[in-house]
C-alpha cells in the first residue's frame, strides 16, 4: 500500500513513505524560506531530524511514516518559528491583532468577566472587579451587568482566542509564547503567597455562601409567587366580599405576567446561585435567550396592561371607604362596647368621632352617644363580613372608629374579647379597663396627673 523511497538526512539514509517524504520536503522548504534561505539552518535542522528519528527508533529497516514527520514538526516547530527576529514587527500587521472581548477563565474569580474586560480595556483586573462591586450598590446593577456579560461574552477557549483577548496577532510565534506563558503563570500561581491563598479561599467560600443564598431566595420566591398567584386567581384580593383585584381578563393577565416576571427573575437568581456554587455556568445559551425573550414579552405586556388597569383598581379600592363623622361635646372618657371594629384614639383639638366603614356595610348599627362627658361607642349590633384577602384595612375589621379628643381621663373597654385598639395619644396617658375581664391594663404611663378609672373592677 505504502510506496517507499530513500532520503538522506544528516548523512544518514532513511527509508521513508512517499507521502511522508512529500510532507518532509514541503516542511524543509518552508523552513528554508522562513529562515531567510539559510543553508546552514536547514542543514542543522536535517541533522536534528536524523537524531530525533534515531532516538525515536525509526532507523535502519524501519520506515519513516507521516506520523513521524508530524512528530518532527511538533518538536521543531512550525516554519513560522524559524523567522528571523528582526522581521517580527511586520508579522503583527494582521487584522487578527485587533483586540476582542472574551471571558478570561484562566484568571477568573467567578466566570472571568472582570478579567476579560480588564484584558480588553488594558487595566488591572482589580479595578474592574471594584467597579462591579461598586455598581452592585446601585440597585444591584453590578450583578445584573455581570450576569448579562457572562451570558453574552464567550469564553476564551483556544489559544488563538486567548491571544485575541490580549490583542496579540494569531501567529505561531505568539501561540507558542502564550503556551509558554501559561506554564509560567501556572508556576507563579503555585508559589503564590499564603496570604493570597487565604484571600482566595475566603473569597471562594463567600461566593459559595452567596450562591447558596441566591438559590434559597430564588426558589422561595418562585414557590411563594406561585402560591400567591394561584390564591389570587382563585379568590382574588378583596375585602368584605368586594373584589379588588383581579377583576376582568386584563387584570388576570397582569397578575399572570407579574408571576412570570417574578418567576423568571427568581430562577435567574437561583441559576446565578448554582453557577456561583459550582463556579460554572451550567445553562445552555439558547435557554437563557429564551428566558430573556419570555421576560421581555411578559414585562411589556404586564407593564402595558398594568398602567391600563391601575386607575380602575385604585378607584375600586378608594370606593371601599365610607366615612361618617360625628361632632361631639367635650369628653373626658371613652367607653367602648362590643369589639366589632378597630379603634384609634387620637389627640385632636376638637372632639370628633369618625366611623370609617368598607363599602356596602351598614354603619347605622354603630351607635355613638355622648353623655356627661363620657363617649360611648357601641358596636355590639354591628355585624359585617370581615373576611379579607390581601386587602385588609382596619386591622382586618369591617370598620374603623377614630376618636379625636384633646385629652382623656380614661378609656374603658367592655367587650367579650380583645379589642383592636390603636392609640395615638401624643403623650397623653390613657388607661384601659377591661370591664368584662375585670382586669385593668395601663396603656401608657400617666405622669404627671394620674387618671381616674371610669369603672372599678368587679
Amino acid at each position: 500500500m505504502n510506496e517507499i523511497t530513500q532520503v538522506n538526512l544528516g548523512r544518514q539514509a532513511f527509508t521513508i513513505a512517499i507521502d511522508a517524504q512529500k510532507l518532509l520536503r514541503d516542511y524543509l522548504n518552508a523552513v528554508k524560506k522562513h529562515s531567510g534561505g539559510s543553508e546552514e539552518v536547514v542543514e542543522e535542522v536535517e541533522n536534528r531530524m536524523a537524531e530525533l528519528l534515531i532516538e525515536r527508533g525509526v532507523s535502519g529497516s524501519k520506515v519513516v511514516l507521516v506520523k513521524d514527520v508530524e512528530y518532527l514538526r511538533t518538536q521543531l516547530g512550525e516554519p513560522g518559528d524559524f523567522d528571523d527576529d528582526s522581521e517580527d514587527a511586520a508579522s503583527v500587521e494582521d487584522d487578527s491583532s485587533v483586540r476582542k472581548l472574551f471571558r478570561d477563565t484562566d484568571n477568573a474569580m467567578i466566570a472571568g468577566v472582570a478579567a476579560g474586560l480588564a484584558n480588553y480595556l488594558s487595566v488591572d483586573t482589580v479595578i474592574v472587579r471594584l467597579i462591579f462591586i461598586a455598581l452592585t450598590f446601585f440597585g444591584g446593577s453590578g450583578i445584573l451587568l455581570y450576569i448579562i456579560l457572562w451570558l453574552l461574552v464567550p469564553e476564551a477557549k483556544t489559544n488563538s482566542q486567548r491571544l485575541q483577548m490580549r490583542g496579540l496577532a494569531v501567529n505561531v510565534d505568539n501561540i507558542k509564547e502564550a503556551l509558554a506563558g501559561a506554564d509560567v503563570s501556572g508556576a507563579t500561581r503555585r508559589v503564590s503567597s499564603v496570604v493570597g491563598k487565604v484571600i482566595t479561599s475566603i473569597a471562594g467560600v463567600t461566593l459559595r455562601i452567596t450562591g447558596l443564598l441566591f438559590v434559597i431566595v430564588g426558589v422561595t420566591m418562585v414557590i411563594g409567587g406561585a402560591v400567591l398567584t394561584i390564591y389570587g386567581l382563585v379568590r382574588g384580593a378583596g375585602v368584605a366580599g368586594i373584589p379588588i383585584f383581579p377583576v376582568g381578563k386584563e387584570e388576570v393577565m397582569v397578575l399572570v405576567c407579574g408571576f412570570i416576571i417574578l418567576a423568571l427573575i427568581s430562577s435567574l437568581l437561583a441559576m446565578t446561585g448554582i453557577a456561583l456554587v459550582r463556579r460554572k455556568l451550567s445553562v445552555p445559551g439558547w435557554a437563557i435567550a429564551a428566558v430573556i425573550g419570555v421576560f421581555i414579552v411578559a414585562a411589556s405586556v404586564g407593564v402595558g396592561l398594568g398602567f391600563d388597569v391601575a386607575p380602575s383598581i385604585k378607584a375600586r379600592y378608594d370606593g371601599l371607604h365610607h366615612t361618617r363623622a360625628y361632632s361631639v361635646q367635650p369628653i373626658s372618657r371613652v367607653h367602648i362596647l362590643g369589639n366589632n371594629a378597630s379603634y384609634v384614639i387620637a389627640r385632636g383639638d376638637t372632639p370628633q368621632v369618625r366611623v370609617n366603614t368598607l363599602g356596602g356595610t351598614d354603619a347605622q348599627a354603630i351607635k355613638v352617644t355622648e353623655q356627661n362627658g363620657v363617649l360611648t361607642i357601641d358596636t355590639a349590633d354591628f355585624r359585617a363580613p370581615t373576611n379579607c384577602s390581601f386587602v385588609c384595612p382596619y386591622g382586618a375589621m369591617a370598620a374603623e372608629i377614630v376618636v379625636y379628643a384633646p385629652n382623656l381621663d380614661a378609656i374603658t373597654v367592655d367587650a367579650p374579647r380583645d379589642t383592636a385598639l390603636g392609640l395615638s395619644n401624643n403623650g397623653v396617658g390613657y388607661e384601659i379597663t377591661d370591664a368584662a375581664g375585670g382586669a385593668t391594663s395601663v396603656a401608657t404611663p400617666v405622669p404627671p396627673t394620674p387618671p381616674i378609672p371610669a369603672s372599678e373592677p368587679r
Binding site: L9, G10, R11, Q12, V31, S35, G36, S38, E40, V41, E44, V45, E46, N47, R48, A50, E51, I54, T74, Q75, L76, G77, E78, P79, D81, F82, D83, D84, D85, D88, A89, V92, E93, S97, V98, R99, S122, L163, R166, G167, L168, A169, D173, N174, K176, E177, L179, A180, G181, D183, V184
Partner: protein, 118 residues
C-alpha cells in the same frame, strides 16, 4: 496601519521581545564553558521552559555565528548524524559579560520597582 493598531501590536510584542532578548543571554550562558552540542543546548533550554519548539533556536544560533559571537565545528558521530559543537568567541565572552551585567542590573531594578508597588 493607524496609531491605535500600532499600540496594540507593541503591547503584544513586548512580552515576545522580552523572551527573545533573554534567550540570547541564556544561549551564551550555556556556551560559556567550552564546546556544547547544539542538541544539548536545546534540551537544557527546554528543561528550563525557555523554549517550546526548537525552531526558534536555529536561526538564533546561525545569526550568532554569523556575528562571530559563537564558533562551531562539526564532529562525526558513530551512530548518528554529524554533530555541531558551539563555543563562545572572545566577542561572545565580552557580550556575555555585558549581558550578564545588564541582566542583573535590570533584575535589581525590576525587583525594586515591584517592591515599591506592593
Amino acid at each position: 496601519m493607524n496609531q491605535n493598531t500600532e499600540q496594540v501590536s507593541l503591547m503584544g510584542q513586548s512580552e515576545v521581545q522580552m523572551r527573545k532578548g533573554l534567550l540570547v543571554y541564556c544561549v551564551l550562558l550555556l556556551c560559556k564553558d567550552g564546546k556544547v552540542y547544539s542538541s544539548d543546548i536545546i534540551k537544557q533550554l527546554r528543561a528550563a521552559e525557555l523554549i517550546v519548539v526548537e525552531g526558534t533556536l536555529y536561526p538564533l544560533l546561525s545569526r550568532l555565528s554569523r556575528d562571530k559571537i559563537v564558533e562551531y565545528e562539526w564532529q562525526e558521530s558513530e551512530q548518528g548524524p554529524p554533530r555541531k559543537y558551539y563555543w563562545l568567541t572572545t566577542n561572545g565572552q565580552s557580550l556575555l559579560a555585558t549581558l550578564q551585567h545588564t541582566y542583573h542590573r535590570l533584575h535589581t531594578s525590576v525587583k525594586q520597582l515591584e517592591k515599591g508597588q506592593v
